[in-house]
């Protein structure tokens, strides 16, 4: 993967995979290879990948590809996490309705 121009404090190249939560490919690989976590559900909860406003739209396919590479399974066999409402972030005030909501 080519670099995105982002650097760590000690000037190393990093690739940001989860843009909402600012999680890098390097961090994700450390969890997959060093800690042996290849369950997307677990990665989400421990790293917060896919937990931000976009709900994994950008990072999920990229992480699934990393998991598939690590487990040597086809990408289609990597279980996805539950898609939860709302499909796009909605303000609480809008959900609450009210006098000026028409």
């Amino acid at each position: 993967m080519s670099g995105c121009g982002c650097k760590t404090k000690d000037n190393k190249d990093v690739n940001i995979i989860c843009r909402c939560e600012d999680i890098t490919l390097e961090e994700i690989r450390a969890y997959i290879y060093d800690k042996g976590i290849t369950d997307l559900e677990q990665l989400r909860r421990l790293l917060r990948v896919g937990m931000g406003p976009c709900q994994g739209r950008t990072c999920t396919p990229l992480i699934v590809r990393e998991i598939a590479a690590a487990t040597k399974e086809p990408v289609s066999d990597v279980p996805l996490t539950t898609f939860r409402p709302p499909t796009t972030p909605v303000k609480l005030g809008v959900l609450a309705g009210g006098d000026d909501n028409d």
């Binding site: 909605v90 303000k91 609480l92």
Partner: protein
């Protein structure tokens, strides 16, 4: 495949992981933990991530008080290389009528007897603690600065990792299909990944404990109740304390990451295992929270989910041996407080399972109380 174990723990939530860790720490060599999905996939990982000592019965207040103290040093005890995100900025329990004022003062009396640093706060003091609160209808509140937040995924992971290092085998994506008996006694479990023979089996499976009990002919008074939660986008720090209203049946806190987590349950809902999300919840939650904390109306909801309370008739947990089935133990029925009392519960259960005198007497939490009528009816549940 048949294997043997010294103890089998059913359930990979924080209660199961804490119990398995304590069993191994106390010297059991072969402890196997069985989890149907992944660690913290059930009630633990779906909870509101709060912990409070402000309870209305002594059994609950004591377990919470001592567990919060254990959470304060948990990272060191479990040698966790990550953070469990402990934040102690208090819980504010709002009183909207005279009856609540009276109940809260009763609770404060009990809490003070137990050394819990809670106090009554006037509407003016509430405003100091949470400046953006709407005081309409408020008579006052109680506040305990030691209450707060902890990350359920991380805390459970901390216990699971520590348990593994002590030799506990954790089987995820494994379902218990049968509890085995020899005569009256428990003798093991049958799972989707083979049979495990064990003289000690404990169910830490939340509401599913009722189904496990039925496998050995025991009817446990535990009922699933769906509770729903939503989380907003993260923002700069705005709110220290958890705000809780028994009147509205809701709670709301800003977690260290920045998002606001808020939830409620509907006590009139059918008691089943449904954990789907409903759109009605979003509207109800949004309406209630924008009344209490109007400033939140500009925050965007990014996700909603739901989970199950494992309720008992008196909303106090069932802990201990099941007398009809020697070797079978239960730690369930937490009625929404399992996460916050897990450090002490895991220790107590390990002591009881190994035939040691537990640190506190736990007979009062036994299932027999529902026959004798010695109940501990908890008034302070959302």
């Amino acid at each position: 495949m048949i294997k043997t174990a010294d103890a089998v723990v059913i359930g990979g939530g924080i209660i199961g992981c804490s119990t398995a860790y304590n069993l191994a720490k106390m010297g059991l060599k072969k402890v196997v933990l069985i989890e149907e999905k992944y660690i913290a996939s059930g009630a633990t990982g779906r909870c509101g991530a709060g912990m409070r000592m402000q309870w209305g019965t002594e059994p609950n207040a004591v377990l919470a008080r001592d567990s919060v103290a254990m959470y304060e040093t948990l990272e060191e005890e479990l040698e966790y290389d990550d953070s469990i995100e402990l934040k102690q900025e208090g819980y504010l329990l709002l009183a909207y009528n005279e009856k609540m004022v009276e109940q809260f003062h009763k609770n404060l009396g009990l809490q003070h007897k137990l050394g819990i640093p809670s106090r009554w706060v006037t509407p003016e003091e509430i405003k100091e603690l949470v400046p953006h609160i709407n005081l309409q209808g408020l008579h006052g509140a109680t506040f305990c600065p030691k209450d707060g937040h902890c990350n359920p995924f991380k805390a459970t992971d901390a216990y699971a990792q520590a348990a593994k290092r002590l030799g506990v085998e954790i089987l995820t994506y494994t379902r218990v299909t049968k509890l085995l008996k020899e005569g009256d006694k428990i003798s093991g479990v049958e799972t989707t990944k083979g049979t495990i023979l064990s003289p000690l089996v404990i169910s830490c499976a939340g509401a599913y404990t009722r189904e496990l009990g039925r496998m050995v002919g025991v009817e446990l008074p535990i009922y699933p109740e769906r509770h729903q939660i939503l989380v907003t986008e993260p923002v700069e720090k705005l709110q220290g304390p958890m705000v809780m209203s028994f009147y509205h049946g809701i709670y709301c806190q800003q977690v260290p990451h920045g998002g606001f987590i808020m939830g409620l349950g509907d006590p009139n809902e059918v008691k089943d295992y449904n954990i789907k999300s409903s759109w009605q919840f979003m509207h109800e939650m949004a309406a209630k929270i924008t009344f209490i904390l109007p400033i939140l109306k500009n925050l965007r909801v990014v996700r909603q989910w739901s989970g199950l309370y494992d309720l008992t008739p008196d909303k106090t947990q069932i802990l201990g041996a099941i007398p009809e089935v020697p070797g079978f133990f239960v730690a369930a029925g937490f009625s929404g407080r399992g996460f916050m009392i897990a450090p002490v519960v895991g220790k107590l259960m390990a002591e009881v399972m190994l035939g040691q005198e537990p640190e506190y007497p736990i007979d009062m939490y036994g299932v027999k109380r529902f026959e004798s009528g010695q109940l501990y009816v908890e008034p302070s549940v959302v």
